[in-house]
């Protein structure tokens, strides 16, 4: 069943068309990794789905309902939650307060502050620490926890391993195993091996368009790399 649908989505930054006429259907519980070079439009696309950028044209549908006119806070109530690039925690607030704020427009569901601390045990001892004092891994865990607090159906994750040590990235992905139950995930990931291990479907973006869309098991690393650099035509 189709969960998230984009129809001819166009997103602009002023004159620049960051996302050009993109269409895709994502099924329920699918884990989709969005890969591509810097500036390919991945983050912009995620932010448009979350409602932080208004698309210039096109539609965004969740389970058949058009959510394009909704603002970002209304989309949280509609089941979409974004873990933004750079984590964007509320620095003057503690870990616990960040989680509580994440639950302000929460839908019905299983996530509570206590459950988040169970899923991210490394945060327990930092509960009352201001988020500015946390390590990168702890900050990323808090950001994911904050997004989960709204009990999303669709979780968008933007560059969650950026700037983290490999060990911290392992920890973050281990906790995502818990989060993915029943949730549709769309993640932007620079690390191709991780993307291929974790995701069920891979989409490659180049200059605002999709140039490759395949189930992970049907595609090779080489094919993705070619699409990544825009060499698709050469091999064919």
């Amino acid at each position: 069943m189709t969960h998230l649908t984009l129809e001819n989505l166009d997103v602009r930054h002023g004159q620049l068309r960051a996302v050009k006429h993109v269409s895709i259907s994502i099924a329920k519980s699918e884990i989709l990794a969005l890969v591509g070079a810097n500036g390919a439009g991945k983050s912009t696309l995620l932010r448009a789905i979350a409602g932080a950028h208004r698309p210039a044209s096109g539609r965004i549908m969740v389970s058949g309902t058009d959510i394009t006119p909704l603002q970002s806070f209304q989309r949280v109530a509609a089941g979409i939650s974004l873990v933004p690039e750079g984590r964007k925690l509320f620095q003057d607030m503690s870990v616990e307060e960040n989680l509580i704020v994440g639950g302000i427009s929460a839908r019905k569901g299983g996530w509570t502050v206590a459950k988040i601390f169970e899923a991210f045990p490394n945060l327990v001892k930092r509960r009352h620490a201001k988020t500015g004092t946390l390590s990168g891994g702890e900050q990323q865990a808090t950001a994911i926890g904050r997004a989960l607090m709204s009990n999303p159906e669709i979780l968008l994750l933007d560059e969650i391993s950026l700037g983290l040590s490999p060990a911290a990235v392992d920890l973050v992905y281990a906790s995502l195993e818990i989060a993915k139950a029943g949730t549709t995930l769309v993640l932007v990931e620079q690390d191709l091996s991780r993307a291929m291990n974790f995701a069920t479907r891979i989409v490659c973006m180049l200059e605002g368009q999709f140039v490759l869309d395949a189930q992970t098991q049907d595609v090779t690393r080489e094919q993705i790399t070619e699409a990544y650099f825009g060499n698709r035509g050469r091999g064919h």
Binding site: A50, G51, A52, Q71, S72, F73, V76, A77, S81, L82, P84, K88, F90, Q91, D92, M93, E97, I100, V101, G102, I104, S105, A106, R146, A147, S150
Partner: protein, 295 residues
Amino acid sequence: MTSNLLQAVFLGGNYALIAVGLSFMFSVMRIINLAHGSLAVLSSYLLFVLASKFGINPFLGLLIVVPVMAALGWILQRYILDRSARGGELLPVLTTFGLAILLDNLMFQRFGADTRSLAPYIGDLSWDAYELPGGFMVGKLQILTLATVVVIIAALQLFLKKTQLGRSIRATAMDPDTAGLVGIDAKRASAAAAAIALATVALAGAFLGMRVTFEPYSGGMQLLAAFEATVIGGLGSLWGTLLGGIVLAVAQTLGASIHPQGFLLGGHLAFLAILFVRLLRGRAFVSAWLTRARA
């Protein structure tokens, strides 16, 4: 002199009461509301009309004027400041400047140039005083003013820390874009903050009208005192605003003790001195940070 300093502390309470709303609005919406003083005077006039025309005691009148001003704050943010903020950082400030001129002149048109006061409507509170140990006299109204501002600041701190709306307002103040992404209606949070700020303005207007006389153009001086107290106390810090009000009043009192006309000048000098120190320290801090970043 000790008596004068004690009086100055209580006068500082008055400044802090008018400044607390300005400071709150700046910290949340990043808007310096130049109509702040005029809105306080408007509250004084509303209470005056209720007292003189309908015989309503100003303290009871607050039950009407506080909600009215809060509603005005909501509308002001939602339909005027929020829209003007789309035009850049400067536009909301210019908008409130225009609003101040509009309010002052509307009040002049409606109420004329006569000075008014709420003192006749509050019985002996306007002149009665307590004698403290050591023979110091402190006006009842002054004590009530200081107590009010302490209660307002404590309540605001508790509200910001412990309630869902308070957390929404803080999150919006830090990062409105991310606040929206985690499910907070940032516009609603800002409008609520403006409503709260103007509710404190209503109280400030009440105590202003009880303590001194006011006329349609009194707002400018109130804004100046509020602005100086806010900056001295460190922009956006609520307890700092109380301290800023007291420092301002003490500086004015010291100024007046040096020269009969030194009252306002003393306050301005303290304001400028602290502003200067902040700028220097700010620059020292930034250059130290840059050196560390380069290393």
